[in-house]
Amino acid sequence: MNFWEYNKTIALKVSTLLLCVLLMTTSSCKKDLSIYEINEVHVSNSNIDKNGLKKDIEFVSQAYSDLFEKPISGGALEEAIIAFNAIGDRDLVRDMMIRDLLNKSTLSLPDRTTINADVDLFVNKTYKKFYKRLPAPFELFSLRNMIIQNQDMQAKEIYYAFMTANEYNYF
């Protein structure tokens, strides 16, 4: 059995394992996972209560649902878990996964015209999308200025900045 044949077998095993894990988590930890459900996000006015570091599986699930506004598929989650386990530097994997998601052709991003039409609205939406809170007035002021002053800056860059900043690693 060579590399590729072997890995087909492994993939089947991992699929089975993942299915078991998903069944377990959906049955026993449903309360914890409900935070990923798109329509049940609590929007806070502050980041002061964020102190729970996201686990890798939580991080990628959240990243996917934040960007695509739907839950990540079982298959995609399985692949993500393998990638996390295969590479020791998990921070690198997180960064690469974000840049991969931001490059998916199925991802819909606001263009610059849309952003410029109402920068405050875009900033508010971006904070809610990724940080589940509204920006403080000084945050809104600063982000608005940055975005207006950098007319070449696209939504992809802004989203990348938000998703790789410290706050995004925490619940």
């Binding site: 890995n7 964020k50 393998i82 990638a83 386990n85 295969a86 530097d89 996964m97 070449d152 860059e157």
Partner: protein, 421 residues
Amino acid sequence: MAAAATFALPYILPTGRLFAATGNRVVNHVVFCLLAGGVRNLESIQKSEGNLMPSLFNGTEPISNDILGGLDALPNPVNNQALQNYGTLFKEFRYGAGFPGHFQGHTTAITGSVVNNDISFNQPTQKPTVFEFYRKHNLSSNSGLNAWWVSNGIGENQNLSYSSDPSYGAKYSANFFSPLDLLVDGNYTPLDLCVSFNQNEMSRVDQMRSFLNQNFNAGVHQGQLNINTASDREQMDAFITKLIKDQKNGINRDPWNCGSSMNNDMYNIYFAERIIKQFKPELLVVNMTDIDICHNNYTKSCNNMRKADYAVGHLWNTIQNTPGMANDTILIVAPEHGRDIQSNSIIDSFGRYGNDHGDANSKNIFCLIAGPPSKVVQNQVVQSVTGQSIDIVPTIAHILGFKNDIPSHYLSGTPLTQALV
């Protein structure tokens, strides 16, 4: 007073090290190949089935006729001579006091500590690893890329990248990599379309991220493991991206022209060679595990011993053809443990019985240390019982010059200086 002040101040060495290890180095690179899966001396150095490992050992003993049908075609060994001619072969090496299980064997080889069945398979090892010893006592700006643990399979092996020891730990971790798990069509999908930002874009991103970070005080995420610096991570990123691209383009498929004979161990060594060529690491540990099929298929295990042997020969050849590592690298090859002297009851299609591991014979292994003639005693065979698995970490520490920096209570083994000039 002046001398004391001098010692207290960090000194950036030309190599990038913050502090120099206190010992002299024998060479600047060590590659440790765990010929894992349980290899008996009987089939390896004693050649009971003929010379199954001509890349490692001298001899033209013919392979047993009755298993020939179960052996795949392989190219001739890559090197002109068997590796034992380039170094010292300890024919009666010992596993030592611990239980000869695969993970225990890996743990002992990588930590230099005896372990038994009391270890956790799901947590970082309790005893510091050779990677942590190396990184802590050879601090450098790029040390993450200098320490690699390349594993055939994930499982518990990733827990040997670093320990839970409070004096060491994750910040001194190896870069763990299980290429065969990532580089399967489909498995790399989460990473294969990464957008690249140009310098201007990254500058804008950095500015915005810096602002966002200033306003988040609940915690500062410094990285779960903090293995690599930001600049090292960029290099890692480019390397992984290139491997994925090559995988998609079929470049990683049958790279040694071995056809269907190429097994997982050979692929694992191939990817370790990619790391060697790219990063020229000072410490790389790579394992092979396909021999473990001996429990239920003795003949296939012999077949996989041949493939592992070919792969080690290829690895040596790559080292010698990699500028920066050629003639400056010591290669250590050892099984993690052996196998039982008595067969089990599982018979293969060639009428051969399998072998488990756990008895006293499972502790009889060999160790080969090969390197430059000016550094390693060439063509030396140590026939007497000499050395054990816990000596490998001290040997690596001695070779790379930091043995004396490791607190003495961590390691009970001694360097295998008999192999060194």
